[in-house]
Symmetry: C3
Subunit: 457 residues, 3 copies
C-alpha cells in the first residue's frame, strides 16, 4: 500500500496501456481511451461486489423464511456455495461458458492458462475487451454463477443431506449452468437464433428455478407439511432476517442488472437501474395489495417475494424497457408470484419453503417472455425466440438435474433421516444450535405431534 506501488502502476498504465486507443503523445499522460477503460472496468468490478453481497441476501432470506432448527445448516450451505462456486467457475465453468474467448467447450485444457496467466498480458488491457480486464470479467461472472445454485438451496431447505447438496451444487455450477449459459452469453446457437436475455431471467433465474423444482420434487415435502389432506404452513423463524435478505438482494441487483451492460455507459446503466427499481417497487406493492385483498392482513413474506418477483421479471429486458413497461412487468410478476406460491404449495404440493420456484422459475419465464411483449424487441418472432430459449434451457436443466439428483438419491441418498429432520439439521448434520442462548418453542425433544408425524412416515 506504500505509495511507490501506485507510482509504479500508474507509470505502467500511462506509458504501457492500450496504445491502440491512445491519441495523444505517449509522453504526456493517459489517453481518454485509457481512462474510459479504467472507468468501465471499475464499474464491472463494483458490480461484481454487489452481486457478491446477493449471496448474503440469499442466506439471510433463506434463514429467515425457514425454521430456526435448520439455520446453521442453511448458513453452512450458502457459505460453501459461494466458495465452491468461485473455485469451480475458475476450474472450468468460465471456460465452458465463454468458449469463444477461451478454448473449447469442455476446455479443461484451459486450466493451465488460468494458473499461469501473466499479469501484464493483453488480457489486462482494453485489447481484451473495452469494458473490463480478464480478471474483472471472471470476478463478475463467477459471482453470477454461484447465484444459480443458491436459488436451488432455498427450495430444498430443511431436509436435504448436506453432502448430496454440495455435490449437486458443484456439478450444477461446473457443468449445467455454464453449458446453457454458453448457448446465449457464450455466443452459442440461441444467441444466433435471436433469443434475448439481458441479465439472466432465464440463464440464471429460471435455470436455478428448474433446479429448485426438480430437486424439491425428488426430495418430497418436509415432514408434517402435507398431512391428512391438509396443507400446513411452516412459518419462517425470523422475519427481520428475511427483510434484510430482500433489501440486500435488491441492492445487489443493481450490480446484477447494471453490471450486465458490461460497461459504465451512462445512458444504458442509468436506464437499467431505473427499470430495475421500478419493477421491484411495482412487484412489491402489487403483491402487498393482492395479499391484503385475499389474506388475513397483508403478508410480509409475500410482499418481500413480490419485490424479488419484480426484480427477476425485469432482468431479461432491463435495458429494453421504458419506465412504464418496467412498472407493468414488475406488477404482473408481483401478481404471478402470489398465485404461483399458492398453486405450487396447495395444488402441486411441491414443498418450497422460501417460494424460490415461484420467484425464480415462474417470474424468470415471465420476464423472458416480456422481452417479446414489451420494449424495443417486441414482436411475434421474438416471442418465438424467447420461448425457444426458455424451453431449451429448461429441458437441458431438468434432464441434468434429474440425472444428478436421481443418481444421488439412489446412492448417497438425498434426504436426511426422519428423526434428524424433526430434531433439525443443525443438530443432525452439525451438532450445533444457531441460537443456543434463546429459548425455542418446543425445542430439544420430539413433541408428541412430531412423534406422530414420524410414525406415519
Amino acid at each position: 500500500m506504500f505509495k511507490r506501488t501506485l507510482l509504479f502502476s500508474l507509470l505502467l498504465l500511462l506509458f504501457g496501456a492500450a496504445p491502440a486507443l491512445a491519441q495523444e503523445g505517449a509522453s504526456s499522460g493517459p489517453s481518454a481511451g485509457d481512462v474510459m477503460f479504467t472507468v468501465n472496468n471499475l464499474w464491472i468490478m463494483l458490480a461484481g461486489m454487489l452481486v457478491f453481497i446477493m449471496h448474503l441476501g440469499f442466506a439471510s432470506l433463506e434463514s429467515g423464511l425457514t425454521q430456526s432448527k435448520n439455520t446453521v445448516n442453511i448458513l453452512f450451505k450458502n457459505s460453501m456455495i459461494i466458495c465452491i462456486g468461485i473455485l469451480t467457475y475458475a476450474l472450468c465453468g468460465f471456460n465452458i461458458m465463454y468458449p469463444g474467448d477461451f478454448n473449447g467447450v469442455l476446455s479443461l485444457a484451459a486450466v493451465p492458462d488460468f494458473i499461469t496467466v501473466a499479469k501484464d498480458s493483453a488480457d489486462l488491457t482494453a485489447a481484451y475487451n473495452p469494458g473490463y480486464t480478464w480478471y474483472a470479467d471472471f470476478f463478475f461472472q463467477a459471482m453470477f454463477a454461484a447465484t444459480a445454485a443458491t436459488i436451488v438451496s432455498g427450495a430444498v431447505a430443511g431436509r436435504i443431506k448436506l453432502s448430496s447438496f454440495l455435490i449437486f451444487s458443484a456439478l450444477f455450477l461446473a457443468i449445467s449452468y455454464p453449458i446453457t449459459g454458453a448457448w446465449k452469453w457464450g455466443g452459442g446457437w440461441l444467441d444466433g437464433l435471436g433469443f434475448y436475455d439481458f441479465a439472466g431471467s432465464t440463464i440464471v433465474h429460471s435455470v436455478g428455478g428448474w433446479g429448485a423444482l426438480v430437486m424439491a420434487a425428488l426430495l418430497g415435502p418436509r415432514l408434517g407439511k402435507y398431512k391428512d389432506g391438509k396443507v400446513n404452513a411452516i412459518p419462517g423463524s425470523n422475519m427481520t432476517l428475511a427483510a434484510i435478505g430482500v433489501f440486500l438482494l435488491w441492492f445487489g441487483w443493481f450490480g446484477f442488472n447494471g453490471g450486465s451492460v458490461l460497461s459504465a455507459d451512462p445512458a444504458l446503466v442509468s436506464l437499467v437501474l431505473v427499470t430495475t427499481s421500478m419493477a421491484a417497487a411495482a412487484g412489491g406493492l402489487t403483491t402487498g395489495l393482492v395479499s391484503w385483498t385475499f389474506d388475513e392482513g397483508p403478508d410480509l413474506s409475500m410482499a418481500l417475494n413480490g419485490i424479488l418477483a419484480g426484480l427477476v421479471g425485469i432482468t431479461a429486458g432491463a435495458d429494453q424497457m421504458a419506465v412504464w413497461e418496467a412498472v407493468v412487468i414488475g406488477a404482473v410478476a408481483g401478481a404471478l408470484v402470489y398465485f404461483s406460491v399458492i398453486f405450487i404449495d396447495q395444488t402441486l404440493k411441491v414443498d418450497d419453503p422460501v417460494g424460490a420456484i415461484s420467484v425464480h422459475l415462474v417470474c424468470g419465464i415471465w420476464g423472458t417472455l416480456a422481452v417479446g411483449l414489451f420494449g424495443d424487441l417486441a414482436g411475434v418472432a421474438q416471442i418465438g425466440y424467447q420461448l425457444a430459449g426458455i424451453a431449451a434451457m429448461g429441458a437441458f436443466t431438468v434432464v441434468f438435474c434429474l440425472i444428478v439428483g436421481g443418481t444421488l438419491k439412489a446412492t448417497l441418498g438425498l434426504r436426511v433421516d426422519g428423526r434428524e429432520e424433526i430434531k433439525g439439521l443443525d443438530v443432525g448434520e452439525h451438532s450445533m444450535h444457531a441460537y443456543p442462548d434463546f429459548a425455542i418453542n418446543g425445542d430439544g425433544y420430539l413433541e408428541e405431534s412430531e412423534e406422530a408425524t414420524l410414525q406415519e412416515v
Copy 2:
C-alpha cells in the same frame, strides 16, 4: 450480457455521445469530456444505491428499537415506503421538485414524458447535466425522497393503523416533500433568498422530523407509556438490529452527502466524506460520554442515536466545513440529541419510540443553523436565511401533516384498537409473528398488567 451488447453500446458512446465536448477527431475514441461525464454519472448512480441501503438501515433500526410484537408491521411499512416512494416520485414528485428542469409546479402533464422518454435523447448525455443522465438524476432523487417518509415511520411505530400510515406516506412523498424541496433544490424562492442546505438537514431531515412530531402527537403515546404520572421505558427488542441499522445508515450517508456534490469532483466529494465521518464520530462519542455521565452506565441506543445526530447535523453544510468545524457540529448534535430525547419523552410527553424527532428534527434544525455559524457562509445574514428556510419548510410541513393526519384521524382512524395494540400489530394487522420459533416473554396472552392498562384507556 453477451459481449456484443457492450460493443454496440461502446460504439454508440464513442461515436455518438456529447459531441459538443469532444475535442479529438470523432474517429479516434472518446473525449476526456465523455469520460468525465461517465465517471460523474457512475458516482451519482453509486450514491443512489448507497441511499437505497439506508432504507434497510431505517428498517433495522426501527425494528431493533421497538417491541418484537410489532416487527412484521414495521418491516411491511418500510418495505412499502420504498416501493410507494419510488412510484410516486416517478408519477409526480420528481417533476414537482425540479420544475425548472421539467414542466411546471404540478406537472402531472409530465407523466407522459416519463412514460415515453426516448432512451437516446439528449437527457442521457452531458447536455442534460454534466454530472448525470436524466435517469441517474431520478434514481438518486427518488431514493432520497423515500427517506423523508421513513423518518416518520419510526415515531409512529407500535400503534398506527397500517392503511392510514401508507396513505399518509404516499401523500407526504407525492406532494409535501417535493413542494418544500422545490423551494431550494428546485431553484425556488428560498434558493433565491440565500438559504443553504447542502444535502438536506432541513429539506429531508427536519421536514421528516416535523412529520414525525405531528403524527406522533396526533396519535398519542403507546398504551402504558405514561401511566399514573410515570414515564415507562419500553426497551427495544433487538439491539444488534439497531446497531446494524445505524452502521448501514452511516454507510448510506456517504452516498447521501457525497452524492449531493452532484459530480465525482475529487476535492469536494472527499471533503464531504471526511466531514461526514468526523461529525458522526464526534456525535457518537459525545452522546456515549454524556450518557455514561448521567445514566446507569453508557446507553447503547443513545450512543447509536448520537452517531445519527452527528450525521444529520453535518448534512446541511458538509461541503462548507473544515474538519474541526465538523467535529464541533457533530459533538453539539450528540449532546443535543441526548437532552432532546429526555425532554420530548419526559417533559413534552410525546412518545417517539426510536428518537426520530430528536435525531431528525432537532439535529436537522441545528445542522441548518450551523451553516450560519461555521464554515465559508457563516454570518448574521446567513443565520437569517437559515432561520427563514427552517421556519418556512417547518410551517408548510406541519400544516400539511395536520390536514392529512387530521383528516385520516376523523375518517379511517389513525390508531389501531387498544387490544390489538397490546397483542401487537403483527398479529392484529398481519396475522403473523416475526419470531414464531422463539419464546417471547409474556407473549400470546394479555398479561394482568396489560388488561389493567387497557381498562384505563
Copy 3:
C-alpha cells in the same frame, strides 16, 4: 444539492485542476489526466466506504460468536472504536504513520494543519498524489486504522472492563499502530530493508492479533471456560449474525485489498479482487472439509473463520500472486486456522471467544511469509525480510500492549467483577439487555453451577 453547485465545481475542475497533466487547450474541457485522477480518487473513496462496513462485519461476527448477555457491551465497544479511531487518527495517527508526507514522527504539530487545511490547496489535486486527494487518503487510512483495535475487541469479549478497553484502544490506535505502520507504509526502515506487506497481513492483522493475544492473556479466561482440567465450549449465541459478519467482512475486504492498489489501475485492482476471492473461497472450503473430517459434523463457525483466514492470508501478497498461488495460500490458511484455534484453546489455554488470534495473528504471519514463498518476490532473502518485519512489528506491539495493558491492570483494573461477568456485561456495564423481549435460557439469576464457578474464583 442544487445543480448550480455542480456547475461551479465542475468549472473549477475543468479549468483549475492538475494543469501539469493537461494536454489539451485549457478552454476545451478536462484533460484525460484530470479524469484519471477523478476515477482513481473515486475508487479510493469507495474502498474507504467498503473498509468502513467491515466494522459492522466485526461487530456482527463478535456479537454472534459470544453470549447474548454481553451483546450490548460488544456493540457499544465496536461503535466507540470506529468513532475513537477516526478522531484519534485525525489528531495524530495519520501524521505519525505517514511522516514523509507530513511533519515528523510525533507530529502533534500537525494538528493545526488538520484544523485549517484549505479546501483549494494542492492537497486536493493530483499534485498531492495521482491516486487521491489528501481527504480521500485520510478517509481510507482512518477506516483501516480502526480495524486493528477491533481485532483485539473479539479476543477480550465477555470480561474486559469497558473503560479500560476504550483507553487501551485509543492508545493503540493513536500510537502503536501508526508507529509500526510507518516503518513500512510511511517509508520507514522496514520499507528500506525490502519487507513487503501489500495491504497489511502484518501491519494490520498480525499487529491486531498480537494485541489480542497479549490482552487475552493478561485478562485470563472467562469464568467457567477452564474448570477441573476441562475445556468447556461456550457456544456463540447467534450464528446468523456471525455469518452476516463474515460476508460483510469479505465484502469490505474488496476495498481493504483492492483499495490498497492506491489507484483504480484496471490490471492490478482486478487481479487483487480475484486473488482475494480465491483465497477466501479456498480458506472456507478447506476449513469446512477439515472440520467435517475431525468434528461431529462440519462446524459453521470454523468454516466462517476459514473464510477470514484465507482473506488475512492473501492480504500481504494479493497483488503478487497468480490465481493458483492465491488458492494455495488460502487453503493453507484455512487448515492453519482450524488447528490453531484448537491449539490456543486447549493447549495454550488462552481464551479467545471469536478465534481472533488464530485468524489475524497466525494467518497474518502466514500471509506475510507467503510473500517470500510465492509470487514475484519469492526468494530466500525475501523470506528474511518478511521475518524481520513480522518480528519487529510483533515485538514492538507486544511490548506496547504489555505496558499499557499492565498499567491498566494495576490501576483501573482490566476485568469486571466475577458476579458481573456471570450476570453479563450488558447488565453490569450498561444496565440494558440486548434482547429483552426474548426468553433467554437461564437468564436473570445466577444458576447453581454459576454460583459454584464464582466460589472457585
